[in-house]
């Protein structure tokens, strides 16, 4: 799993600074990562990694750290 690529997806989709993208970055704690931002983020990740994420994982992806695990899971399946 390309962590750099995932970081870029966060920066681009949420329009936040690269420095803010740390493992503990959490959904709902910055104004950019709200429910609208989250849908943009999911689209961006799916496009860049060529994966399709299930509903449960869309909901579970609430930190950057969790996003790494989830995207890794899907990338391994490919």
């Amino acid at each position: 799993m390309d962590e750099h690529k995932l970081r870029r997806a966060f920066v681009d989709a949420l329009d936040i600074e690269d420095d803010n993208v740390v493992d503990s970055l959490e959904y709902g704690t910055v104004k950019e990562w709200d429910s609208i931002g989250h849908m943009k983020l999911i689209s961006e990740i799916e496009l860049n990694f060529d994966i399709m994420i299930d509903t449960d994982d869309v909901i579970a992806m609430n930190t950057f750290g969790r996003a790494k695990d989830i995207v890794k899971k899907y990338s391994d399946e490919n």
Binding site: G28, S35, I36, M39, D54, T55, I59
Partner: protein
Amino acid sequence: MIEEYFLHRPFSLTASEKGKQFLDRLIVLHRHHSERCSEYRNIYKAFGRQKTLPRDDTDFIPLPVRLFKTLTLKSVNPEDVQKTLTSSGTTSQNVSHIYLDKETSRLQTKVLAHIINDYIGTKRLPMLIIDTEDVIKDRQLFSARGGGILGFSTFGRNHLYLFDSEMNIKVNELKGFCDRFKEQPVLLFGFTFLIWKYFVEVLKANNQSVSLPHGILIHSGGWKKLKDDAVDNETFKTAIRGTTGIQSVYNFYGMVEQLGSIFMECERGFFHTCLFNNIVIRNWKTLKVCQKGEEGIIEVQSVIPWSYPGHVLITEDLGVLIGEDNCECGRKGKYFVVNGRIPVAELRGCSDTFQHTG
């Protein structure tokens, strides 16, 4: 533990299997709100009920939904409120305020997903949102209508908003969507009145149709405005089939005060309770529990509300309990119909409050 609920499918437990766990959770919520919300505590006090715990699920004092318009009902510290949801009222009406903390929001999302996945599966589907994107553009003003759309967006991908700012169908985009996804299941979501007025009626008036034979339409928002045009659930479904080819149409009943734990319609046309919610039908004069088949006011119960005391509410809707655990659709739980508003109730509801000016 609330997490244990998710081990079961939402419509899989009978009354005896669900009962104790459900009551235990309501009691946990009751204790929490009694401790943290003085208005809630005072209501029980006024009825001399502050010392004893409710005995069963019909023994709670249901809060009238309109109380959320006049009182600030909150059971968490102000700094823990993550967002405030408002019913999309107009200036002439009071607006409900629902205060959500992180845990309540999380549960809303998770419960809704657990219910909807049981209908559409866990794979996200291409999604047509039968509304305008304008309703979600103002992130500060989080209306029930926008909240509903965002909540359901989780189940979709390749989202398309059907209407432009003037509520006109985006004809070319719609055609592109239908051509691209006509061979596979797609999800459509919107509010009943808006779907009827700005989609179905417009297609009919122009003698047009679209083809989404594998579409699944989920809609809500009340029938009050449609009743004037003599549009009921059957008329609605028939018109949807005729204009779009969609066979699977599910209405749901739910309160903005209990977002997440919705009552989904089944293939037999009844609304169903599930693991996360319950209803009690009450005589509208005496508030005594009605028998099966007897019309009364609908009390709605939900395991979700933690940051505000919305776990047991009396609505302004009339309904009838049809049965429990034996619906022909195969789902367990109570099943019921909603017959409309009690006559004195003011106009309210997610899409009902979309009012025309001019």
